[in-house]
Symmetry: C2
Subunit: 467 residues, 2 copies
């Protein structure tokens, strides 16, 4: 079987210089004069980045299992995306950017149906489009607040009172609702003011920024491997659910929605079982709290299902599912028509997304389907996980808490010298990212195959035997 | 002199059917199944929209002085943008979307310097890039909060305390600061949670959404024509400034920044004088409050200057200027290096904008400069304003409070039957938008010429003589 990517990517990494090398260093110094470069990981040559490989100006070419913070779906300079980008439709979307709510393109329904909505999670047949993960989540929150207040008012037909309208203009209740969005400890849902109030990853993300007094529940802290800690983990999940219910019933700013990641990604790749999420769905249904699943990082195939929450087999779908990153566009899916606000212009902004990016997602979906990349990712994930288990056994303490079994390539482990680990990885030809306090997270693209897994595994072994 | 646009746009509007016509109606019904169409103004055929003219599926072609809510800069299907969109650089930016903070493209400094930063307001030589107006403003707010807290702590070198880090994770002070952003009544700064807390346009924008307890000052309510109400208006502006100072000194959640639009756009095209803004700059300097100028709608040429705040001749620049819409990309400019947070990852997100859109802005800037479109807009604005003054005199009560003299084509007036006015305009071949309670706002593109002004004026006269 010839490889899907082989026509356009190199065969192996090439490391020519330290990273950053001399050319990169000079360019970074220049860039820093106008753009903050302190979070810069690697200056990138995107013209020479191909498939699974990322290039830099010094001629270094690394196997990229970080993929722009998990946001490159089908490889750099993918020929199918190149073709889509050259198409008349894309160019039109790019140069004639519409205010989608007011002046949608005549083929917008078709673009949605053959793209974003073609992969809509089961039970969710509508979408509100956005720009990135933060505003996808925040517009979902807005929908949740409007929905709950509408119920409290007695339905869509009930008009706002004078008092509500006046107090809303003053940012005061009852017009500005005194409701909350519940999230979980170590969650990450974005960095704007509403989303940041639900983000609980690290102080550096939150310090100095005003926040809403919203509740957080403990995310179950599971022990790995999961199969060796079944009882303990079940107990941790039951306690977490009990806390969720307690907060729903007692928090002084009542939650109208709970937002949860299928796998807490930025927070360190923290997993929970399908039973936990089923329990959360049951609890939220019981107490009329909406369940928002944040699939910004987990969505679009990397877990071996198109949406990670498909792993749970929920009896009823989540109320909303948000997406971004590998979709290259963003928004939230929903099914219940009542989640459309009762009047126009309540959920609205000038652009409401970007048709050029929506068209790119359509091309990505076509590429995924044509090449069966989700199934392949599930398989290569199993292969990779098995090999990592062997490495973990061979090098105790170096691949701690290996997690992500059966979750495609969405795999992570802890290493006590994590930051050094990531730096060394570059010298062995691999670009990897970290998350949480000590996690090394693997976020390969959907075109990652056994061949790449072998290159990665060899490098990982070199890293841990080099110190 | 041959017209700039003449090669690619029609000579006049064509109205073939009611709007929406039969084809549009059918397509809208189809779209509504998956996408909320209650705010739909006109289903658009972007392939047949050219220059100043917007087309629909029924073959109607209207002179467009709304321009996607003031966000089309140089015309539909502009040949120069078409060329840029077909270029290798753009395609690369589109299909290899970087996480700009971690993996910037090697030529990112150059893209910024020849694009976004080439038109940076005087005194502001740095930029943080964003996606749209709301997050441009919100990231500017975040910078303001971090800056003020850093001052309070005693400088960039002072470390966060344990108490700050712990309380930040719980959304409580001192880690989550108890500071505010002041805005003005009838202002519009966006619709996400932080920006919406500063937006004071209409209840429908704010109802049910939790908001921060932040202060609002009265925006001076000027009488028009300005030259006939000099003393009254000066008094209104002095009172507004006194209120600003009072709130800075006394509001129970102290403001660390004031955000202001050069012309309140969504709120109804409310103007204030250069003296008012100079006074605001002086007050904010005096009290160590940052001044953020929101140029999302006013920026990029329509007022006859590239940035509307150039009209004020401030002795010192604003601290931050935000942009979006006609820039087709977004962000905030700043000059003071202390506005870079003291540590990396404090101001950060996955994409931090979109290089494809940044490249489009560069092409827009080239097109504006090459054709001297800002100067031309100033001139055609004067022409249009003069003719509108004559219409206002001829039809008393129909073009009330005509405003925007000397402000390019950024012109508005009130009409007592505004909604009907806008609807009728379509039947006479013109697409116009409204704002505030009764304003008709003209937001032509920068390629709007006397010829288009004449077509517009003729239609406006037809509207007011038709009832």
């Amino acid at each position: 079987m010839s490889s899907y990517y082989s026509s356009w990517e190199p065969e192996a990494p090439t490391v020519k210089t330290e990273i950053p090398g001399p050319k990169s260093k000079a360019a970074i110094a220049e860039l820093d004069k106008v753009f903050d470069t302190r979070s810069l990981n690697m200056l990138t040559d995107y013209h020479n980045s191909k498939g699974n490989y990322i290039a830099d100006p010094d001629g270094n070419v690394l196997l990229d299992v970080y993929a722009q913070i998990a946001s490159i779906p089908v490889g750099y300079n993918n020929p199918a995306l190149l073709k889509a980008a050259q198409g008349e439709e894309m160019i039109n979307g790019l140069i004639n950017r519409p205010a989608l709510g007011n002046f949608p393109p005549q083929d917008w329904a078709n673009v949605l149906k053959t793209g974003i909505l073609k992969v809509a999670p089961k039970g969710l047949d509508q979408v509100f489009t956005a720009m990135a993960g933060s505003d996808a989540n925040e517009t979902a929150y807005k929908a949740a607040f409007m929905y709950r207040r509408q119920q409290e008012r007695g339905g869509a037909h009930v008009e706002f009172t004078e008092e509500e309208m006046e107090s809303a203009m003053n940012n005061q209740s009852p017009g500005a609702s005194q409701l909350s969005i519940m999230s979980f400890k170590t969650a990450f849902h974005g960095r704007l003011f509403g989303s940041l109030s639900t983000t609980r990853s690290k102080p550096i993300h939150k310090l100095d920024i005003p926040a809403f007094d919203w509740p957080q529940a403990t995310f179950p802290q599971l022990k790995y491997p999961l199969e060796d800690h079944v009882e303990e983990n079940r107990k941790a999940e039951q306690e977490a659910l009990a806390e969720v219910e307690h907060l729903i019933l007692n928090y002084h700013v009542p939650p109208c929605a709970v937002i949860v990641e299928p796998i807490q990604s930025e927070g360190g790749d923290n997993h929970a079982s399908a039973d936990f999420f089923k329990g959360l769905r049951a609890l939220t249904k019981k107490h009329n709290v909406l369940m928002i699943v944040d699939e910004v990082q987990t969505g679009v195939g990397a877990t071996g299902k198109f949406w990670a929450h498909e792993h749970w087999n929920l009896p009823e779908p989540p109320d909303m599912v948000t997406f971004s990153k590998k979709a290259q566009t963003a928004g939230y899916y929903f099914g219940n028509p009542e989640l459309r606000p009762n009047k126009p212009y309540r959920q609205f902004n000038t652009w409401m997304g970007d048709p050029a990016r929506a068209l790119l997602f359509r091309a990505i979906i076509e590429e995924i389907e044509k090449n069966d990349l989700v199934t392949k990712t599930a398989k290569v994930g199993d292969y990779l996980f098995g090999k990592l288990e062997a490495l973990a056994k061979k090098y105790p303490g170096q691949f701690d808490n290996l997690r992500g079994k059966g979750m495609g390539t969405f795999i992570a482990f802890d290493n006590p010298r994590r930051d050094e680990f990531l730096k060394k990885a570059k010298s062995f030809g691999i670009n990897i990212g970290g998350s949480g306090a000590s996690a090394v997270r693997l976020r390969p693209m959907l075109i990652f195959e056994e061949k790449h897994a072998d290159i990665l595994l060899e490098a990982l072994e070199k890293i841990v035997t080099s110190w």
